[in-house]
Symmetry: C2
DNA sequence: AGAATAGCTGAGCTATTGCTCACAATTACG
DNA sequence: CGTAATTGTGAGCAATAGCTCAGCTATTCT
């Protein structure tokens, strides 16, 4: 599934180890700079400075600023610390535990660098390709959850598709908020309440 | 509670009707331009052009670009089509209806211009004053909901404060998503499921 | 070693943006 | 009227951004 957007492709493929290292330093620096300054104020010159390479080098591996952030986001999506839905427990009486596993997954995927993730999602001007990639990822997850809801004996909701959308988004956003603005409520407490809400919903009274 | 941030105050107070009209045209144009181009690409010159006034006039009523968007957001907050919590039904067996009223409020406050609201919240560099205003508004709502949860006979949750935070945010974000990306699911269906989820949570099994 | 290739540099070009200011036009008011 | 106050104008300034390119250095290959 190759990206069709030329504007996100590097102009040169690194052929030496040195080059690969430079590319990596750029990405690491970019993550730091975006986190610290946000996307708009995270200039390419600042990234190059932080990576201790010249601005010219940066533009040998990334055709433009967007491509740098795109690469970071792609990596985050691909890494996907996602508990395969098929590995989740489907026996009766375990719905609560199943939901808790979902919540934990969400927390895990946010705990690495919540600030950067927030910037990538909220501030960045995402290209159509990126949006497609995110969408694809979302569809896969939704399908998995829908399948899980269909097969779990304790689940009683009207439309499984709607329910899957609803709980995925709810878990995602609440986790996102919790990680981005920490301190207001203990993580464990909030996670437990969140799991409660979803569980009670799925059990259908 | 006057704003202390000088950078958001207009430099001149309009004294003639003509001036008031100009100010209004700027705000209307800004709403359109921000909606169409986003915040970063919605330049002040574009706003002036659309309002059919000169860029100089724009800067007589707003000290900078941020102030324009701040004014739009303030207005949205102040308008607040908010069903007073005290007007909500607290008699037993009506929890479902009460929650539905909350969901409807959220939908109403988003339906006017969801795209603009998204931009204001997600793209704009909000000043501390703005953030404070939003925070204040949020606290008031949270307090109202907490009060409601405490007094409603059908509500059975552990910590009322956490529950209030959780359901307000969940309703807000799900509504936000539904209005911003329309078409995927019928609004009524989604709203009903959302209300179901919250209701079942609050009833505590 | 020497040529060829790959990688790196950074001054500065081009484009754009938020915003100013000297001035003109309009309105208020005696 | 005539004068002062208010409102409106828009060329252009200063700052900053993304990005290029001519030339340098490092590595690889024969």
């Amino acid at each position: 599934m190759p990206s069709s957007d030329r504007r996100l492709q590097p102009r040169r493929k690194p052929r030496q180890i040195r080059a690969e290292l430079t590319r990596e330093r750029i990405l690491i620096a970019a993550a730091h700079v975006f986190t610290e300054y946000g996307y708009a104020a995270g200039t390419t010159n600042r990234i190059a400075e932080r990576a201790r390479i010249s601005i010219g080098s940066l533009y040998q591996y990334f055709p433009n600023k967007d491509a740098i952030l795109a690469q970071l986001l792609i990596r985050h999506i691909d890494r996907g610390t996602w508990t395969g839905a098929d590995r989740l427990d489907l026996s009766p009486g375990t719905l609560r535990a199943t939901v808790q596993a979902l919540v934990r997954d969400a927390i895990d995927s946010h705990s690495e660098d919540p600030q950067l993730l927030r910037i990538m999602i909220e501030e960045a001007p995402l290209s159509q390709d990126l949006l497609d990639a995110i969408d694809r990822h979302g569809r896969i997850r939704t399908a998995q959850i829908r399948d899980l809801l269909t097969r779990h004996p304790d689940v009683r909701v009207g439309d499984v598709g709607t329910a899957a959308d609803l709980i995925l988004f709810t878990i995602e956003m609440n986790t996102h908020k919790m990680m981005a603005a920490p301190g207001s409520v203990p993580v464990e407490t909030f996670a437990a309440e969140l799991a409660d809400m979803v569980t009670r919903y799925l059990r259908g009274d």
